[in-house]
């Protein structure tokens, strides 16, 4: 009857539940992959020729797809997180959550189940997006170690963003607002170095773009996948991820442990 083994067992049970939901609606995962894929195609085929010429090195479409990939990957992370917020909010509006609360199960298990489930979903969705990118001409000279590092970086920021989405899902009173609240996250790659270099932006925006959390992540990924300068981006990425994850976790836990809203 150790409480740690119960926590692990309950979290695994909740994870199985979330994975079942995912398997039952594979279309959800495909839908989540849909947005980044559409943006990828849009930015490669519609804007890629022009933007590729403008990013400095004078390349075209082929070079732009390499440049835009980190932004697309982060957009994927944000899209899955939006799904997380929705499914957490849906859970909270269902009676089943009240049942869980009146059972002797580890309190964090339900949230842990969502977070781990979403991490798995993120990896599946990223696989789809990267597969499409390879089909439309994305090439990387990254070594297997660099790929592993890139996956680690994405997992780190995804973990943070997913905890944030869990909190946003909990704070939302309706499923609709849960789907709207994380929306800015999907736009964040645009307001950073995801689609164009930040030095082409006006001062105020550039300042935001350079200091917002997604930019160092994209710079780190870009460095790992295409060999550009990483500098202290990796450290900033780790710091941002840890900070967002910790604060979001504490917020989510506080929201979850309060008395459920009175109907």
């Amino acid at each position: 009857m150790s409480s740690l083994s119960h926590t692990l067992a309950d979290s695994a049970t909740m994870l199985r539940r979330n994975l079942r939901h995912m398997l039952r609606y594979p279309s959800m995962t495909v839908l989540l992959a849909g947005m980044p894929v559409v943006f990828l195609l849009l930015f490669v085929y519609v804007f890629g020729g022009t933007l590729g010429a403008g990013i400095g090195s004078g390349g075209g479409r082929g070079e732009y797809i390499v440049y835009v990939m980190p932004g697309i990957l982060l957009m994927t992370v944000a899209a899955v997180a939006q799904g997380t917020a929705i499914s957490v909010a849906m859970d909270m509006t269902e009676g089943i959550i009240s049942r869980f609360r009146t059972m002797s199960i580890s309190r964090g298990a339900i949230l842990t189940g969502h977070v781990v489930g979403s991490l798995i979903q993120t990896m599946i969705t990223l696989t789809i997006v990267i597969a499409v990118a390879l089909l439309v001409g994305f090439r990387s000279d990254a070594t297997p170690v660099e790929w592993l590092a890139a996956i680690g970086v994405i997992a780190m920021i995804a973990f943070a963003v997913i905890w944030l989405s869990v909190a946003l899902g909990l704070v939302s009173k309706t499923v609709e607002s849960a789907s709207n609240l994380p929306m800015p996250l999907t736009l964040l790659p645009f307001l950073g170095s995801g689609f164009v270099p930040t030095d082409s932006m006006p001062t105020g925006l550039r300042w935001f773009a350079e200091y917002q959390p997604f930019t160092p992540v994209m710079e780190t990924l870009r460095g790992l996948l295409t060999g550009t300068e990483i500098g202290n981006s990796a450290l900033q990425t780790a710091t941002w991820s840890a900070g967002i994850a910790l604060l979001s976790y504490l917020w989510a836990r506080k929201l979850y442990n309060r008395d459920p809203a009175h109907k």
């Binding site: 119960h6 067992a9 309950d10 049970t13 199985r16 539940r17 079942r20 939901h21 039952r24 609606y25 269902e94 009676g95 089943i96 009240s98 049942r99 869980f100 609360r101 009146t102 059972m103 002797s104 199960i105 008395d259 459920p260 009175h262 109907k263």
Partner: protein
């Protein structure tokens, strides 16, 4: 039942809860005997669901001392959780899973182990007549099926104390009867304690050993269905006579003891106030016999819970029944 085993399943003193300005529970005392069925009866908004939510550890109380199954509710919520089962007003099932998967989920969370969990699941599916729909998504279930699955999920961990918050609200009459049978079976076969809320007077009458009437956050009466019914004046015996002569003779005979008997000369009926007990019926018939008056037909009208409820909660249907304070006093003095 109360006399054999008087251990308390629930013992609450001065339970209070408010949401902002709104006082939802205003000093409620409850005593539920182990192995009994206790019904909390009240109209919408009386505070029934809040009471269940507090007693089942879902939300905290603002005041009062509560022990559930021997554990202090505020200090040992997990100990309470391990012995209770809750079936709420809104079905607590996972619509994206099948019935079997829902039950397995409960078995896993109760740490039953694989084989035991599988066996328990199969047994409950069979018992609740869900075996045919076991592998279908619950979102396609009918209301009655969802409610049965909901209760089956509650039973997975063999709880000693089961909370049922309006277990039959929204069900069709047949499903309601099925649910009643299931509830009766639980008490008879397994000796569990049941705490149920309902706004259906008939339901409390059918199922409960004791009934507490909750109104605006306060208990206004408590007792058995019979005790509650006796609290309300208005019970009477109606006598119908074969001809006007017998009718007049009866009125004459009864006038010795009663002034101004309600009567209907066209229908040849009189209404004699009565508590409906055999002793008073016999006395009435003896009185008529002594005058050689024979009644054609006799019917006893005891107030039903409807009358009790309306009288006690101060929404009078009959103006005579508003003496709530006296009623409460009599009811609570057991």
């Amino acid at each position: 039942m109360a006399g054999l085993n008087s251990a308390s399943a629930i013992s609450a003193v001065g339970l209070r809860k408010s949401y902002g300005e709104k006082l939802v529970l205003d000093g409620v005392d409850l005593e539920v005997v182990e192995g009994s069925v206790f019904a909390l009866l009240g109209p919408n908004g009386a505070g029934k669901t809040t009471a269940v939510q507090i007693l089942s550890t879902l939300i905290g109380a603002d005041g009062g001392r509560v022990r559930v199954a021997g554990h202090d509710l505020a200090r040992e919520p997990d100990a309470v959780r391990s012995v209770i089962g809750v079936t709420g007003q809104f079905s607590a099932v996972d619509g994206l899973l099948s019935g079997r998967e829902n039950l397995r989920l409960m078995a896993d969370l109760r740490h039953l182990g694989r084989a035991a969990g599988r066996a328990r699941t199969a047994e409950l599916l069979e018992r609740f007549d869900l075996a045919d729909a076991a592998d279908v998504l619950v979102s396609t279930y009918s209301g009655g099926m969802r409610r049965r699955l909901d209760l089956a999920m509650t039973l997975v961990g063999d709880p000693r104390l089961i909370f049922l918050d309006e277990p039959t609200t929204g069900l069709d009459p047949r499903s309601r009867r099925t649910m009643w049978e299931i509830i009766r079976g639980l008490v008879a076969d397994q000796g569990v304690t049941i705490f149920l809320t309902t706004q259906y007077l008939e339901e409390a009458d059918q199922l409960a050993d004791r009934i507490a009437v909750l109104d605006h956050g306060k208990l206004v009466a408590e007792g058995t269905a019979q005790e509650l019914k006796r609290l309300v004046p208005g019970g009477h015996v109606q006598l119908r006579f074969a001809d006007p002569a017998a009718f007049r003779a009866a009125v004459g005979a009864l006038s010795h003891t009663l002034e101004d008997i309600p009567r209907d000369e066209d229908a040849l009926t009189v209404q004699v106030p009565s508590d409906g007990r055999v002793r008073s019926l016999r006395a009435l018939l003896d009185l008529l016999d002594a005058q050689s008056v024979e009644a054609e037909e006799l019917s006893v009208h005891t107030p039903d819970l409807d009358d009790v409820f309306l009288a006690l909660t101060g929404r009078p249907r009959t103006p005579a029944n508003t003496d709530t304070d006296t009623a409460t006093e009599k009811a609570v003095t057991r």
